[in-house]
């Protein structure tokens, strides 16, 4: 499943998915009890990394998206996202949950791995949007997703993503 063949790229060829995450945007043992709590903790991570101007404003947009339909896509994975004026720089955050939480997922199973996408309301460069889209696409690759979910170090997670996107 080669995404390069599927999506035509333009612009900066050196820009990669793995540039949109760093170790501050990863928590490998997030200890939360509910979906809402998980979302809020991840939004705070994104705020602490300087990608959004306001926790409350981004939270409103992320929760709005949740109300439109579940982001729990099954297989223990959720991919919440907000397109928001609060986002100043595109990024994504990853959390592995200590205990799976209920997410009203498509397959009914609780979620243990969350990838949150922060998307600017305007002025988003098409390239960055495509990179986040590519990440969504790659997460459906069973082998890749399983390896990500089994990963126990932040560096390994980032390495897995950067290796996979070059394939």
């Amino acid at each position: 499943m080669s995404f390069q063949k599927y999506l035509a790229y333009e612009g900066d060829k050196n820009m990669k998915i793995s540039n949109l995450i760093n170790e501050n945007l990863i928590n490998l043992e997030l200890d939360t009890k509910t979906k809402d709590e998980t979302l809020v903790e991840m939004i705070k991570m994104i705020k602490d990394n300087g990608n959004i101007t306001s926790v409350d404003c981004f939270k409103e947009d992320v929760f709005k998206r949740e109300r439109e339909g579940t982001t729990g896509v099954g297989m223990g994975l959720a991919i919440p996202h907000g397109k928001s004026e609060a986002v100043t720089k595109e990024c994504f955050a990853i959390a592995k949950l200590k205990e799976p939480v209920e997410w009203n997922s498509l397959d009914g199973n609780p979620v243990s791995f969350v990838v949150m996408l922060a998307v600017p309301a305007e002025k988003a460069t098409t390239l960055h949007l495509k990179l986040l889209s590519k990440l969504s696409y790659l997460l459906m690759d069973d082998d890749f997703r399983k390896r990500l979910m089994a990963s126990n170090s932040k560096k390994e997670l980032i390495d897995l993503i950067s290796k996979r996107e070059e394939e």
Binding site: R65, H81, K83
Partner: protein
Amino acid sequence: MYIVCVTSCPTGIAHTFMAAANLKKAGNKMGIEIKIETQGAGGTENKITEDDLKKADGVIIASDVSINDAERFDKLPVLECGVSEAISDPEGIIKELIEGIDK
């Protein structure tokens, strides 16, 4: 058998592409040639061409929003579903379309 699909969702970043990935995967598994156009936040990708339309036996529109250029499919059997259905049960949707075509 050749199937063309369009996926789209409100944000156009996540579900559109997960649905595309899973439809593609299901098509490969079932041995059916399938092409998926994504109408996402970054624009339309992998656009279905006139040649594709001539070749196509059926269409799947997996979307939670109204898609661009839906009228080009007017003469083909079309199955419409929510984008989430294409993520969770892509094989079921492809089968449903094929059953509809065979009738």
